[in-house]
């Protein structure tokens, strides 16, 4: 499974692809919903690592518009529960991640993205 928590940290690692290589664009996805344990302390600590714009855009592309466009200043329980769902309870099982810069396609099959590069793409 690829959860959005991981997708939000992932940029393209092909040779020479160092700018505009994030976020990877999700294509032709099949999603799965699964329950995960709610951990507000973890989420609060994780907030600074997130690229908020990329997270909201990606979630909206997947049909989830529960998160506000602007990152809130106060993290109340209601907000953290929505964030929890988006980050940890939605997973991409099939489809692909496409680099917005070099167009490298990372296929996702059976929940596992193939991150292998060809010889000429290795930095």
């Amino acid at each position: 499974m690829v959860r959005l928590i991981t997708h939000n940290l992932l940029a393209c690692h092909a040779k020479g692809c160092t700018s505009n290589n994030f976020p990877l664009q999700l294509k032709d996805v099949q999603l799965e919903q699964r329950e995960a344990e709610f951990n507000p302390d973890f989420l609060r600590r994780f907030m600074p690592k997130l690229d908020w714009g990329a997270l909201v855009d990606t979630a909206r592309q997947l049909g989830d518009d529960s998160l506000p466009l602007e990152q809130p200043e106060m993290f109340d329980d209601d907000f953290l529960r929505k964030l929890h769902h988006v980050l940890l309870e939605v997973s991409v099982e099939e489809g692909a991640m496409v680099c917005p810069n070099c167009s490298h396609i990372y296929p996702i099959s059976n929940g596992i993205p193939n991150m292998l590069l060809a010889e000429n793409e290795i930095g």
Binding site: L9, N39, D41, I112, P113, M115, L116, G123
Partner: protein, 212 residues
């Protein structure tokens, strides 16, 4: 019996048969669990805190299961599809990636609170082709540089591996240092040929917490 890393590259060696043999072997399970607990101890995450961790060479999820039990959230990478297949069947909680660590990571700076790796690094010491990007120093450099960047400051990466010589330890530690890591080698049971375990303990920044 030859060491597996000398027989074939990991994604070939750990085909369906070896991957399931490895996972079902209770002796391997036990050693793997002990080393994972020891790596977690060296990782020094504050008691009771849920961390976001990277499992490097997660295989069939033997370590991942322990990370799940301890309440951590993790992503795992492995180059063997057969191993990952078994990890899926075992329903581990982490996000799994088919990835060759010698090609480096694409994770954004500061993504992980720590990383562990059990019995993997020795695979990077063997060249797979004659292509320049396949030489062990090149692959180790890609690996350590992109790992260093993927970890937050301060944090640690604990990598247990099986070196065959002090030269190998020297090569690995010097490349890790060049990539920006501090830290060094911890050897458990140094005088027992069988039980001896080598842990490469890498620090980003001060490594966090008290020294090992």
């Amino acid at each position: 019996m030859s060491r597996p890393e000398l027989v074939a590259p990991p994604e070939i060696y750990y085909g369906d048969t070896e991957a399931s043999k490895y996972t079902q072997n209770t002796r391997i399970q036990q050693i793997q669990a002990e080393m994972t607990y020891r790596a977690m101890e060296l990782l020094n995450i504050p008691e009771g805190e849920t961390a976001f961790l990277l499992d490097i060479g997660c295989g069939s999820g033997l370590s991942g299961e322990i990370l799940d039990e301890e309440g951590h959230i993790w992503a795992g990478v492995d180059v063997s599809p057969s191993m990952l297949e078994i990890a899926l069947e075992r329903e581990v909680e982490g996000d799994l990636f088919l990835q060759d660590i010698g090609q480096g990571f694409g994770f954004r700076p500061g993504s992980f609170d720590g990383a562990i790796s059990i019995s993997v690094l020795q695979w990077l010491l063997n060249a797979e082709t004659s292509h320049p990007t396949s030489s062990p120093p090149h692959r180790l450099t890609r690996f350590f540089t992109t790992l260093h960047s993927a970890l937050k400051n301060p944090s640690r990466a604990i990598l247990q591996f099986y070196p065959t010589s002090d030269d190998q330890i020297q090569l690995i530690t010097s490349i890790a240092q060049k990539a920006g890591f501090g830290g060094g080698i911890v050897v458990d049971y140094p005088n027992s040929k069988k039980a001896r375990k080598v842990f490469l303990c890498l620090f980003v920044g001060g490594g966090g917490g008290q020294q090992v």
